[in-house]
């Protein structure tokens, strides 16, 4: 069969269909194909049909041209559809396979497709879906390998990092080929992640690429390559060389890699950096797990800076602030000695030391007090308390916390309770810090959850076991300190219960969850009724569920579990928009309620 003629005819028909069928009438390029097709038709009749269709079209009138062009096209396509090339000559070689960990699982389209879309599209709300799938172990399906690789370049870096850290390494060395194929050493963060994952799944493949990246990679990829090579002792000289780089990103990566290797040549270089002007850039590294040699180097720098700071020398103060920042996680005696020396000299320090440093966000005295508090030895705590009169106001909460840890309850009361009654402006400013210290001492975490405000939580060790002088509650009631009353309320104290019930009726809505928690502690028998009355009051005539109402609903978890049926019946009386969040809030109560 002379297929070339058919193909030529189809090409001409396509051209005429684009240009418009009237142009086919008298078209000489099409017409000249009719004769050879007619001749071929003697052997293959279908060719003669094509020749006739061409002649009808070319020699016909314009009015019929559309119909005839389509008839010709249909005939040609029918022939061409039977002539499609299917095979390929040549030797068949096996497909190179690198099976990955995992397989094609029985995951339905409804579950799989949203994950694939989350990894390959843009827009909000994708991270949570992917993260919960990671937690549920859904990334065992090889159909997610390529979407996950694509997500390495996701515009949302948290998602890309999650993929690099949690998803792709799970597929094992089988994905090394794909990672390597798509790697661009001159690329951006996406390629840096690709190299890091490659190094995790197939270090032997990644190392030569890392070496190449040191020569010709972009800063992002070079930094990743240094981080990878830093894990191999053999490559120490290369990493040392990169520590002298001008590019800050590359240099930081090299210093970080060197800090993980406690080797003399690495330490020499790092100590030189500590002694130099770039100490601040070493802070991230030094706060992790520095070798003793590096800690000593920082301490030496801090000592020098302290000597200058005590002379109220501004550069010295700044240097000291940076050094203290670097020492944040140190608990060793040498660091403690330095801090004690610093504390002894606080009084002599000038205003420069009180200014917030670039790194810590607080002045030198506060930095030192916090570090001593963390160390927590008797002499450290004593040093804070000894300096309490000279420490600035922003250290007062820490002073109270230290006192709670160190002194008997009665002494704490005698020292600080009078401040609640004081009328002096300076003393009034100290009430807030006392309240905060009290919150931390009494399981701050739970109270912070009530307020959803942990901004003032210093992350310091809570003092749940601290004992309190019983007189505090009376003083707090007298001073109308609502939060303190909530903290300290106890069963069998009628005045406190009366105060709290009254505050529920007339106080601010945001205070209600605290009062309910406190009344629950006091085993107030009418709590559920009071709560339901309050819910009714807060939801009447209200259009939407406010934050305060939501928090009020959530405080239902402090009610007696035995009252659950009563609360569920009450839910039915609420408006539909309140019913669902209210029932959700009862969920925690259900888990403790006796089953029917």
């Amino acid at each position: 069969m002379s297929l070339a003629l058919i193909e030529e005819s189809a090409k001409e028909v396509r051209r005429l269909a684009i240009a418009g069928s009237p142009l086919a009438v008298g078209d000489f390029r099409l017409k000249k194909l009719a004769l050879p097709l007619d001749q071929a038709g003697a052997k293959v009749p279908v060719f003669a049909q094509v020749a006739k269709a061409i002649t009808d079209l070319v020699d016909g009138d314009e009015a019929c041209s559309a119909e005839r062009l389509l008839s010709l096209s249909t005939l040609l396509n029918a022939i061409l559809y039977t002539q499609g090339q299917t095979g390929l000559e040549g030797d068949v070689s096996p497909l190179a396979t690198t099976p990955v960990t995992g397989s094609v699982t029985r995951t339905t389209a409804r579950l799989l497709r949203p994950l694939q879309e989350a990894l390959t599209s843009t827009g909000s709300g994708r991270f949570e879906g992917v993260k919960s799938a990671v937690d549920a172990g859904s990334f065992r399906d090889v159909r997610l390998v390529d979407p996950a690789l694509q997500a390495l370049g996701d515009a949302y870096p948290e998602l890309a990092d999650l993929v690099a850290e949690k998803i792709l390494p799970g597929f094992g060395p089988g994905i090394a080929g794909r990672l390597k194929d798509g790697l661009n050493l001159q690329g951006k963060r996406q390629d840096a992640r690709r190299l890091e994952v490659l190094h995790r799944v197939a270090p032997a493949t990644a190392v030569p690429l890392c070496e190449e990246a040191l020569e010709s990679g972009s800063p992002d990829v070079k930094a990743a390559a240094i981080a990878c090579l830093g894990q191999h002792e053999d490559y120490l000289p290369l990493v040392l060389e990169q520590a002298k780089a001008r590019n800050k990103q590359v240099k930081a990566a090299a210093l970080e890699a060197l800090a993980t290797q406690d080797r003399p040549e690495a330490n020499d270089l790092l100590v030189a950096e500590i002694q130099g002007k770039d100490l601040a850039e070493m802070a991230t590294i030094l706060r992790r797990d520095p070798s003793p040699a590096l800690v000593n180097a920082v301490l030496a720098e801090a000592s020098k800076a302290l000597a200058l700071a005590l002379k109220n020398n501004r550069p010295g103060v700044e240097r000291l602030a940076v050094a203290l920042h670097c020492l944040e996680n140190q608990r060793d005696p040498n660091t403690e000695d330095l801090l004690l020396r610093l504390m002894n000299g606080v009084q002599g320090m000038g205003s420069a030391s009180l200014a917030a440093s670039n790194l810590g966000g607080s002045g030198i005295p506060k930095q030192a007090a916090e570090l001593l508090y963390r160390i927590g030895s008797p002499r450290s705590l004593e040093s804070i308390l000894a300096s309490r009169e000279v420490l600035p106001l922003d250290c007062f909460q820490l002073v109270v916390q230290t006192a709670i840890r160190s002194w008997p309850p009665a002494r704490v009361f005698d020292e600080f309770a009078p401040l609640l009654k004081s009328r002096k402006a300076a003393d009034k400013k100290k009430v807030g810090p006392i309240e905060n210290a009290m919150g931390i001492a009494l399981d701050r975490e739970e109270w912070a959850a009530l307020a959803e405000d942990s901004s003032r939580n210093l992350g310091l060790r809570p003092l749940q076991d601290a004992e309190w002088d019983p007189r505090w509650l009376d003083v707090a009631l007298e001073a109308d300190q609502h939060l303190m009353v909530c903290y300290l309320a106890r069963p069998g104290h009628p005045a406190a219960i009366e105060y709290l019930v009254k505050s529920l009726a007339s106080g601010r809505p945001v205070d209600a969850p605290f009062s309910i928690r406190a009344l629950s502690w006091c085993q107030y028998p009418r709590l559920t009724e009071v709560f339901m009355e309050l819910v009714t009051k807060s939801t009447q005539g209200v259009r939407q569920v406010s934050w305060a109402t939501q928090k009020l609903f959530q405080s239902a978890r402090h009610l007696p579990a035995a009252d659950l049926p009563k609360l569920e019946s009450f839910a039915a009386t609420l408006d539909e928009k309140f019913m669902e969040p209210f029932l959700e809030a009862l969920a925690s109560l259900r888990s403790t309620a006796p089953t029917a």
């Binding site: 396509n77 029918a78 497909l95």
Partner: protein, 483 residues
Amino acid sequence: MPMDVAYVDSQAPNAGAIKNARAVVLKRKLVGLFRSPDGTLLFGDCKGSGAENYRPSADFSDPSRPVYRCTCPSHQFPCKHSLALLYAYVEGSPFAEKEVPADISEKRAKVQQRAEKQQGDATQPRKVNTSALRKKIQAQLDGLILLEALVHDLVRAGLGALNAKSARQVEERATQLGNAYLPGAQNALHALTGLFYRSRISSDDELKPADRERIYSAALDQLNRLQSLCKQGRKYLERRLEDPDLRPETDSDIAAWLGHAWQLRELREAGLVQTDVELLQLAFHSHDDWTRGEFVDTGVWLNLHTGAVQQTKNYRPYRAAKFIREEDSCFQVLKCPELCLYPGNLNPRIRWESAEPRDATAVDFQKARELARTDLRAVIKDVKTQLKSPLGDRQPCALVRYKTLGRVGEAVVLEDPTGERLVLAEDAEPGEPGTLPLLSLLPAAMLRDQAVLLRFHHDLDARTLHAKPLSLVTAADVVRLTY
């Protein structure tokens, strides 16, 4: 009634319903859980937004066709309350035994009566309003004349003159086809005009010149189909106009092309029925066909009795999508007492009224491999025969045994036991991921002496017939490369 979470998931109309139903369970809104003494009915009380509790139930008196009822106002079936009932059941919540409520007994009796009536009706000859039918056929013929005129106008003006704006104008003119009872023809026209713009919502959707060049061959092929549709449709309708008692044609799928919605009763009357059939799903795909304005769920199934590869199609128009159950991948074997087949094509569309699932076993996979076609040359011949028909499905599927999946140069090829080869390539099915890259991630044993489900596609410009692998059938499982 034995069931598991996967079964309950499969009953849900969509993913949202699953989430909402689970939330109902989590929030403990189900306040009473009961089962009938014979275990065929699950029912309960569920808190909702109304003053009274809703009363959802799941009736398994016919396990192959469960009936879900609820007193809630939702239009989704099953609603989240009925689904929640099932989730509570499969998660082991205690169901107290209780007599079937009176209202459900009444409804059951009515269902029984209706089924008996339907059975009685099925044996009665159907009365056809011939004058109304003639009127309808005449309207369809007028519609085909309009369609032909539109097609010829387009060809006279040339495809080069067609752009996004004029394509939309053509669609507006073609709305009359819907009024002329020709929704199938209207969809075929939209498949042509839809090639000329990039999305259904964007106003800035003109194709770039390079993209236009790529669609001309497909557009011309679609014009050929429309012309054939007009010709064959006219002949078919004229025959029916002469004899209104004539049944819809079953030798070809022209009736479906014109938009005839086949009733199961009609398929039974035409003898297009198989009994006691078992089906194994080989692949599934759901996509948004914006030229039709519908979501389309396509399942590719192997008929374990005949070895035929058949398709289910579930169309969910945008406006009603929320209320129509979205199909999903199915990993079980379905036992269908009665399977109805649509006319035409290598992979006829199938439907069933009731089906009972059972777990797929190694025996089923072994049988599937035995049913796979071993002669690639014959498969290709069948495919080409279908493709050369202007109204034939352009993407036929076949289950084929292979000796090896390997590489010739850059191309991935399939070689059958006789040495016949076929180049494998991705196609342009919207919303479906590529599958060839996955092959290299599979164990090497899967690439030798297995069966593969192929979807063929012919490239008119390159003059090639290639196929995309959708699933591999091994002795242990169906390894799905898509969904």
